[in-house]
Amino acid sequence: MNSDGLEAVSLRLRRRILETSHAARIPHLGSCLSCVDLLVCLYWDILEIDSSRPDAPDRDRFVLSKGHAAPALFQVLAERDFYPKERLAAFGVNGSVFHEHPPAPAHLPGVEAATGSLGHGMPMALGMALAARMTGRSYRCYALISDGECNEGTIWEAAMLAAAQAVDNLCVVVDFNGWQATGRSREVMRIDPLEDKWEAFGWHVVMIDGHDFSAMAGAFEACAATRGQPSVVIAHTVKGKGVSFMEDDNNWHYRTPNEDELRLALEELQDHR
């Protein structure tokens, strides 16, 4: 799909994410809005997946390692027909699978790993990528992590093993929105220089604007063409992207919009093209 088409999808998903956050009082809005463009690029343009065969052994795997962005993933999977959009009416309802984090894969088609505790998804994706080599398959594995998640030691344990094993079918995407739960990510832990860190760990590094669709597609294609080492796409993003009064304001990590805020936000997210 061309960039205009993808942008239209992103706008639609942003609106739904906001509506859901308001209706079901689901937090982590800022984190969802920073990565939704990355999800759209991957799910519409990059991943080799077939929603009618969610368990196909050859499918590409996408693991949302930053599991608190599940409200974005749930919308993406519905839009890609892994389940009917109507099911999302149960978002936040007692007894439904649609709450704050992705459930175990057996409970929702399209989900590859139940995440929410940070630092688990990327190592699991590494296991999935190694399995491709062991079973003679050619699928690729993607894990979306947050910059806050880079605090976790397991990210760097996995980074060392992936490089030692030359796992070139693994691509990690860092949603580098500059914030973690309670502060600037570069102030809480010394994350900078993130590019150099990954490079020093033996990874092929690509830096992009995580809201620029043609840059994202180019980065993922470059990673797919890389042999002999794992790849990381460091995507510079804006937390709360798309809603002026949420952008780069970390209060929206936990806050949910009230009725007035929702109305204002939805007005900003109209498709004017």
Binding site: A104, A114, H120, P123, M128, L130, A131, T154, L161
Partner: protein, 305 residues
């Protein structure tokens, strides 16, 4: 036992193309044959056990049958969350093996003792928790665990553990197995420490009492049918384990008894709730903690008063 594990996992890797062995940079030379026969399915994950456990979960979710092997504290307490979330929550059929469990590495000090592993693993939903008494039990459990759809934790010893089962015994997960018959008292054991119980049963027989010795093999599943039958014929039990007193075999049996109407007098033998500061070899530490044959002998006498 670790040699028996290495031999059997190598055999299994030849028989089955889905078996993968992950180690945390231990077992120097131990897996040379495995590496020679299935080099693509041996992964030294380095001294990074948390990552290793999640990688194993990812492999299992992709159709493989990973077996994770390192020293017990590093496959259990160190990686508890990876075991809980990656393996158990995902129902990923990973087999986790803890070597040198209990006091097998007594000389290495409390960092290498594992006296809490049964307690913390048996509360994880869906996880089988096994502790074979000897190499024959280990081999049978390992084979069966790789057929099971659910994950398994198995704690094993180090080396030189005596064979306790008669050759060719039919052994399976969740089935208790009597090692010695007796009517006056029964010792329910888990793990290689059953050898101490057998010695005690033998020496006390000279004084008259006939003591049955049982290898439980697993706390989860617990062989409740066996225990139910046992309670109908013998009401004096001892549980014996190289594990803390909290949460192990003794606790498991008590929990089960609490839901029955059986009148059983139970003595629990295990490691007191304290770190061990008087370090020595396994036999020394067992004797100072009251877990050697002589202490069991005394406990039997007391229980039969």
């Amino acid at each position: 036992m670790r040699n028996a594990f290495a031999r059997e996992i190598t055999r299994l890797a030849v028989e089955r193309q889905d078996v993968v062995l992950l180690t945390g940079d231990i077992g120097n030379r131990l897996f040379d044959e495995f590496k020679g026969l299935a080099p693509g399915r041996f992964l030294n994950c380095g001294v990074a056990e948390a990552n290793m456990m999640s990688v194993a979960a990812g492999l299992a979710l992709s159709g493989l049958r990973p077996v994770v092997y390192t020293i017990t504290p590093f496959t259990t307490v160190r990686v508890l969350e990876q075991l809980r979330v990656g393996v158990c929550y995902h129902e990923a059929p990973v087999v986790v093996v803890g070597t040198g469990s209990g006091l097998s590495y007594a000389e290495l000090g409390p960092t290498h003792h594992s006296l809490e592993d049964i307690a913390i693993t048996r509360c994880l939903p869906g996880l089988n928790v096994l502790a074979p008494a000897d190499s024959q039990e280990l081999v049978a459990f390992l084979r069966e665990a790789l057929e099971n759809p659910n994950p398994t934790y198995m704690r094993i010893g180090k080396k030189g553990e005596p064979a306790l089962h008669p050759e060719g015994a039919s052994l399976s997960i969740g089935s208790a197995r009597t090692l010695r018959d007796g009517e006056d008292l029964v010792i329910l054991c888990i793990g290689p420490i059953a050898a101490e119980a057998l010695r005690a049963a033998e020496t006390i027989a000279a004084d008259g009492p006939r003591v049955e010795v049982v290898s439980m093999g697993s706390v989860k599943p617990l062989d409740v049918d066996f225990l139910d039958g046992l309670a109908r014929r013998c009401g004096r039990w001892i549980t014996l384990e190289e594990h803390g007193m909290i949460g192990g075999l003794g606790s498991t049996v008590l929990e089960w008894l609490a839901g029955t109407r059986h009148a059983v007098r139970l003595t629990r033998m295990g490691v007191p709730d304290a770190f061990i500061h008087e370090i020595g070899d396994q036999a020394f530490v067992r004797s100072t903690l009251g877990l050697d044959a002589a202490s069991i002998h005394a406990a039997i006498k007391e229980a039969l008063v």
